[in-house]
């Protein structure tokens, strides 16, 4: 539970980071987090690492598809189309 009038401590700031990245923080919490980040290199680094993690996850591409697997599925599709 955050008391609205005081600044965030690091542990609270970290707890808010996912909501922050989702643009789901109410404006007051958002500015309180941004104020905290402006003065805290550790939380700033932590947020950057979370963002790098998310960016890396977004670059996880599909694995290679075995040609036989593709052929089998296309055959299935053709059978269904002709029935």
């Amino acid at each position: 539970m955050l008391f609205r009038r005081r600044a965030l401590v690091c542990q609270e700031a970290v707890e808010l980071m996912t909501a922050y990245l989702e643009d789901a923080l109410p404006p007051r919490d958002r500015s309180r987090l941004e104020d905290h980040l402006a003065g805290c290199p550790h939380c700033t680094e932590y947020l950057a690492q979370i963002e790098a993690t998310v960016a890396a996850a977004g670059r996880v591409g599909p694995d290679d598809l075995a040609p036989e697997a593709l052929d089998d599925l296309v055959a299935l599709y053709r059978r269904w189309q002709s029935s």
């Binding site: 401590v9 690091c10 542990q11 609270e12 970290v14 707890e15 980071m17 996912t18 909501a19 989702e22 789901a24 550790h42 939380c43 680094e45 932590y46 950057a48 690492q49 979370i50 790098a52 993690t53 998310v54 960016a55 890396a56 996850a57 977004g58 670059r59 996880v60 591409g61 599909p62 694995d63 290679d64 598809l65 697997a69 593709l70 599925l73 296309v74 299935l76 599709y77 053709r78 269904w80 189309q81």
Partner: protein, 197 residues
């Protein structure tokens, strides 16, 4: 169909019986469906069956697809239904305690006592992201199942929060906590592998 759905043309061609369009759809999604299926069911073998059943559902259901969701979301929805039929656990919102992963890193005042070690500078942030991508994929088995499901859908597959909640049958709040925990854990694994903390 949602504006700008890249798969819209494929669906149109599929309905017309174009098997090259079907092959394109399979190439685009099969291994992604398999990866998500593995987060839902206990074994690879069951996951493969579930994905086969999913493609069957696609082939049978293509004329009934109304385009209200994106093709991607539709595929994942069929998959979740097949997975539940194959015995994937029903969603169950358990009460999660505090994040144990970070507990010992903060002092009584809430400040860091063991702050994150900065990640090594790289020449190109994009190169770093590509290298990390492989590591992210490799660490998926280390996530608890519910966290792995949400992380796969949200951060790997780029499904939006609302669709993810609907697919998994969980509330927005629970979904966000799971995502938060998953990202925390993946970050910790990546940091460990880079020699940091």
């Amino acid at each position: 169909m949602p504006v700008g759905d890249p798969d819209a043309a494929l669906v149109h061609a599929l309905r017309a019986g174009d098997d090259e369009a079907f092959a394109s759809l399979v190439r685009r999604y099969h291994t992604r469906l398999l990866r998500f299926a593995e987060s839902l069911v206990p074994t690879r073998a069951v996951a493969e069956e579930v994905v086969q059943e999913t493609w069957l559902g696609v082939v049978r259901g293509i004329h009934g697809f109304e385009g209200r969701s994106s093709v991607k979301t539709w595929l994942f929805r069929i998959l979740v239904n097949r997975a539940r039929s194959a015995g994937a656990h029903e969603p169950r919102e358990v009460s999660l305690g505090s994040d144990a992963l970070l507990e010992d890193r903060f002092g009584p005042s809430g400040a860091w006592i063991r702050p994150p070690a900065p990640w090594a500078d790289t020449v190109d942030a994009r190169i770093m992201a590509d290298g990390l991508a492989r590591r992210v994929r490799e660490c998926l088995p280390q996530l608890p199942a519910a966290q792995r499901e949400v992380f796969t859908l949200r951060d790997i597959e780029g499904v939006d929060a609302e669709d993810a909640c609907q697919l998994l049958g969980i509330s927005a709040g629970y979904q966000r906590v799971l995502l938060h925990r998953a990202r925390s854990r993946v970050r910790a694994i990546l940091a460990g592998e880079m020699g940091g903390d």
